[in-house]
Amino acid sequence: MSHWEPKIVSFLCHWCSYGAADLAGVSRMEYPPNIRVIRIPCTGRMSPKFILAAFRQGADGVWVSG
């Protein structure tokens, strides 16, 4: 288990968090590459089904930000 790494799926709002993730890149910040971003137009678009589907695909964590 010592090498276990969580797999995280994130749903980011196009207008804020997605832009922030871009800015993290522009500012050359670093974070672990265990994350896959799905861009959504607004967190209002978020459906519980997306979260369940992500978990069913094996995600260890789902992060919704907006």
Binding site: Y18, D22, G25, R28, P32, R36, I38, R45, G58, A59
Partner: protein, 1038 residues
């Protein structure tokens, strides 16, 4: 440049190349010549333009074994590339040496792509030291280190640098003063060697362009006051005394400490921070700035609250101030919550000296309000520096012949708040007067409106219509996806294995074509892309590169040029969210890139061509409210060419301005108001409807239908936009014995007496003004903004008429912001007595027989004081004219105080979230005449951005219902913030009572889609199947 060409060509010949093709002056004529001997190169010429592509083609075709170099311009390079693509030339044996074109040359050639500036820069940062941690690994290209202006000297930058992370355009610039090469110190070529886009041109020079314009808007801004000259504050000597600007950078995530709150001397986390207000403001003696900078109180509170958020609530924050000036919308509430919830200490005291003490700490001594003497230690002291006009702006103003005020701000008139003293030149922002963001934004729109007014005749005369390329019908076609993977120089390719990603993409279903590019965004790649799409008949495109936020529109344009619907596109972010953030983990970054590409491909396969709804904008405007801001708005709209209707519920135009005597800058309100009313009444394009109310509103942006009701008769007005200028009114006080005696007046009632030249005014000996009557109270926790200035102005007027009169102003904080502060200074000089009271110890007004007696506790003597007055003026609050029906018609929100809530508190102060509806005047927040007029102009300006387009294409990514699934529950209608869904009318033939969505109003947020229990709503471009496709293709990823 000639010297560089000589040097480079000489090196090439020395390296053993067969020759250099260039220009030579022989017998007075300049023509092509193949240089073979380095000695001859002394005679090489680079002017005039002489196209060599054809010569090169001939030579290479005749002697394919030759290895030659050619000195060519950008147009030649493009021609050679074309020839190579057509297979007419082979360039293996060819080496190119580029010549920069001069600006003049580009103009002579009418060149669209001249190479004379940094157009080629892609903002890859390669030329700059990329980051602090990577300094050793990455080539530290530029050897120069200078204090960064953006980080106010707290961090360093190079002589070639991108000013800040959000710069537009995000491109590197060079500091010509400090660059070794540009300054002629040495032949440094660090950045030139590193740049892969050939964007660095040492020969680049300053150019002077002449542009003919009909109007100029000045928005040169301010500079923060430099407190170095105050040796008593030790700013220049002590690292832990900093300015508020420096503190902003320390709090910022992109700042020198990445938002970690530490002090500069030892990088220790401070436990106690103090702010000193009015540094370089309200201080004529030492700083020369007599005005109030308007914004510092609020920013200091904000900084204190954010500091506590960063460092935890045990951080002690103390703000030393004179008057707390939180006169902006919702600012008073923020002040109260900073004090009561966050525990920020507010100390009313002006500290004289900051003494350095042990361990880099700082000691201050001060006297409290109670008169006790205190000493306190702080870890860090922030000087809240004021805003002032920089000397170069003063110089500019002098050059332009624009008059300045005593405080060196641009001189304007209350009734023309953005017009300078010179016709056609307008002003906005902190150069007009020190101000915050919302007011600057209002001003900016107002200045645009004022300029638009004088330019309305030439509107759209310089526009070009783009060629429309017919769209290919792809319906029913199997997806044929093209994938373009970008290297972004080494930005992506330096971390992610781009060839591996490209190869992987080629293995995925429906992928027809895959390639990678050095810079996918460059113009030549765009042309190639467009060609490939057509040739390979691609019907879906994925670009794996940077971020859709900056580049989606560019690539969509390429799709349009290739005849593809622009929504058949998906961008995959493998730079900002991959290579840049995982630079130490290239393997996993490559895996991530593959996953992201796969997710994008599965999504794009499901994309459909989308239509963009077209909206016709009715060219008529409706302004609700005939007060001063409504009239200003209407006048601006009509002068910009639009029919405008003013709807006024009372029987006359003018609103509250009818009750006002003078503006703060001494303007006669009645005289100027009657001129404005006259302008409105004689304007043929303005239709005034008095005694009229709106009883119904139908429709939406561009197509409103309002029912106007006038004494029972009804009329329908069709209009494209609406401006709400419904105004406010004075609160009728229920305290201080108001209404019990004719000598107790409100501020407006006193103005009325001035206007009417009432004899009462001349019989007065003692007058008392009481401030904050109904404002800043638990019931109305906002500041009415205008009352301090108004009372002081009226007090001075009384003093002018009778210099012997005793006048007392009882106040809580004097809020004469900006250059209104001069009035406060003048009043104190004139002997007007200011006595401060607190909310829990308010003055009392009593009638004792015939006598009016005002009791108040003097804040200096700490003793009760009784004043026998002839006149008591109550500065009563401004309250909005609440009209819930009207708010409902347009679905407009109001705050707890009844003022309308604008689209965005900072960036959208004059418009609503509801499209096509705009806002100005007292309905937004209490404000004086100059700001009301500015906002009226601003509302008109925002409205014209819609009106001037006549018809608008809306986004294609909108929600759509499938009415056969709809259960008519109405959830979508209640959740939508933009009023886009509605029920289909009951008398409709198809699906009556089911939900429909107006694509014109829909912003594509997807709120309704997620909340629809019947699955009846689809969001085009982000539909369930598309998002699920991305999630399901994660399986290899997670």
């Amino acid at each position: 440049m000639k010297e560089r060409i000589k040097r480079e060509t000489r090196n090439i010949l020395n390296e053993g190349w067969d020759g250099v093709l260039g220009l030579m002056n022989r017998w007075g004529q300049i023509g092509p010549y193949l240089f073979r001997d380095p000695e001859e190169l002394e005679d090489i010429e680079i002017e005039p333009r002489y196209n060599l592509a054809k010569t090169i083609q001939l030579m290479l075709n005749k002697r394919p074994d030759l290895r030659i170099a050619a000195v060519v311009r950008g147009c030649d390079v493009r021609a050679l590339r074309e020839l190579e693509e057509m297979g007419k030339i082979k360039t293996q044996g060819l080496r190119l040496i580029g010549i920069t074109c001069s600006h003049e040359q580009a103009e002579i050639c009418n060149c669209e792509k001249p190479i004379y500036d940094t157009l080629n820069c892609t903002g890859c940062w390669k030329c700059i030291e990329a980051c602090k941690e990577q300094a050793i690994e990455r080539v530290n290209v530029c050897p120069i280190l200078l204090p960064s202006e953006y980080d106010v000297g707290l961090a360093k930058r190079k002589a070639i640098y991108i000013p800040y992370a959000q710069a537009v355009p995000l491109k590197a610039i060079r500091d010509s003063e400090h660059c070794l090469k540009l300054a002629g110190v040495m032949d440094c070529k660090g950045c030139e060697t590193a740049c892969m886009a050939n964007a660095i041109l040492h020969e680049d020079h300053e150019q002077i362009d002449e542009i003919e314009v009909g109007s100029v808007i000045l928005s040169p801004g301010f500079e923060p006051f430099d407190p170095s000259k105050f040796d008593n504050y030790n700013y220049a000597n002590h690292p832990n005394v900093i300015t508020s600007m420096e503190f902003e950078r320390i709090l910022s995530a992109s700042g020198p400490t990445e938002g970690h709150l530490v002090r500069m001397s030892d990088h220790k986390e401070p436990k106690k921070i103090a702010w000193f207000q009015c540094i370089g403001s309200r201080d004529l003696n030492r700083s020369g700035n007599a005005f109030c900078s308007s914004v510092c109180c609020m920013y200091a509170i904000k900084e204190a609250v954010i500091a506590k958020e960063h460092a935890g609530s045990d951080l002690d924050c103390a703000i030393f101030f004179m008057d707390m000036r939180t006169h902006g919308k919702d600012f008073e509430r923020f002040y109260e919550s900073a004090r009561d919830q966050h525990g920020v200490r507010f100390i009313r005291s002006r500290v004289h000296t900051i003494d350095p003490s042990a361990e880099d700490d700082l000691t201050v001594h001060y006297i409290t309000e109670n008169g006790s003497f205190e000493s306190e230690n702080f870890d860090l002291i922030v000087l809240s520096v004021g805003l002032q006009t920089p000397p170069q702006v003063i110089e500019l103003a002098n050059k332009l012949g624009v008059e300045l005020t005593d405080g060196n701000f641009c001189k304007t008139d209350s009734f023309e708040p953005v017009a300078t003293s010179r016709k056609g030149i307008y002003v906005c922002g902190a150069f007009q007067s020190p101000k915050d963001i919302p007011q600057s934004v209002v001003d900016a729109s107002a200045a645009a409106s004022a300029a638009g007014k004088i330019l309305s005749d030439v509107r759209n005369t310089l526009t070009k219509t783009p060629e429309v390329i017919p769209e290919t019908d792809i319906v029913g076609q199997r997806p044929k996806i093209g994938v373009f993977v970008c290297k972004c120089g080494i930005n992506i390719a330096g971390v992610v294995d781009v060839p591996a990603v490209t190869e992987y993409a080629a293995s995925l279903p429906y992928v027809e074509y895959v390639t990678n590019n050095l810079y996918t965004c460059s113009q030549d790649t765009q042309d190639t892309m467009s060609k490939v799409i057509k040739e390979k008949e691609l019907n879906r495109v994925v670009v794996a590169a940077c971020t859709p936020k900056t580049h989606e529109a560019l690539f969509q344009e390429t799709l349009i040029n290739a005849g593809l619907n622009k929504y058949l596109f998906e961008m995959c972010n493998i730079r900002n969210q991959d290579s840049w953030v995982h630079k130490n983990n290239p393997e996993l970054a490559t895996e991530k890139a593959k996953d992201l590409v796969r997710m994008s491909i599965t999504k794009v396969a499901l994309m459909e061509p989308l239509e963009e709804a077209e909206l016709d904008v009715n060219q008529t405007a409706m302004v609700l409210g005939g007060g001063i801001s409504g009239m200003a708005s209407a006048r601006s709209l009509s002068r910009q060419g639009y029919e405008t209707h003013i709807i006024e519920k009372s029987s006359s135009l003018g609103g509250q301005a009818l009750n006002l005597y003078h503006t703060f800058d001494g303007g006669d309100v009645q005289k100027k108001l009657s001129k404005l009313v006259d302008d409105i009444e004689t304007d043929k394009k303005i239709h005034v409807h008095l005694n009229t109310t709106v009883t119904e509103v139908e429709g939406f942006v561009g197509n409103f239908k309002s029912t106007l009701s006038n004494n029972g008769s009804q009329e329908v007005l069709e209009h494209g936009i609406a401006v709400l200028a419904t105004g406010g009114k004075p609160l009728k006080p229920d305290e201080y014995s108001y209404g019990k005696d004719s000598r107790i007046l409100t501020s407006l009632e006193l103005d009325k007496k001035f206007i009417e030249n009432d004899s009462l005014i001349d019989s007065l000996n003692t007058a008392v003004f009481i401030q904050c009557v109904g404002s800043r109270e638990p019931d109305r926790p906002y500041c009415s903004r205008v009352c301090c200035t108004h009372s002081i102005k009226n007090a001075l007027e009384l003093k002018k008429r009778n210099p012997d009169m005793s006048i007392f102003i009882l106040y809580r904080d004097i809020r004469t912001y900006g250059e209104r502060e001069y009035l406060y200074q003048k009043a104190r000089k004139a002997g007007i007595v200011f006595i401060r009271f607190s909310l829990n110890n308010k003055p009392e007004v009593n009638l004792q027989g015939d006598q009016l007696r005002v009791k108040v506790r003097d804040h200096i003597l700490h003793r009760p004081l009784e004043i026998s007055a002839d006149l008591v003026t109550l500065a009563s609050a401004i309250v909005p004219n609440k009209d819930e029906k009207l708010a409902n018609f347009f679905k407009l929100p109001t705050n707890d105080d009844g003022f309308f809530i604008e689209k965005h508190a900072k960036l959208g102060p004059s418009e609503f979230a509801t499209d096509g509806v705009f806002l100005c005047g007292l309905a937004h927040y209490p404000k004086p005449i100059d700001e009301s007029i500015a906002q009226g102009l601003a509302a008109a300006s925002r409205a014209v951005t819609l009106l001037s387009r006549k018809n608008i294409l809306m986004s294609g990514t909108v929600a759509m219902t499938n009415p056969s699934y709809c259960s008519s529950c109405g959830v979508c209608i209640s959740v939508c913030p933009y009023s886009a869904p509605s029920f289909i009318p009951e008398d409709d033939r198809f699906f009556p009572g089911r939900a429909q969505i107006n694509p014109v109003l829909c912003k594509g947020c997807g709120l309704c889609v997620a909340s629809c229990r019947s699955g009846a709503i689809h969001l085009k471009g982000f539909d369930n199947d598309q998002i699920f496709a991305q999630i399901f293709s994660l399986n290899e990823a997670v």
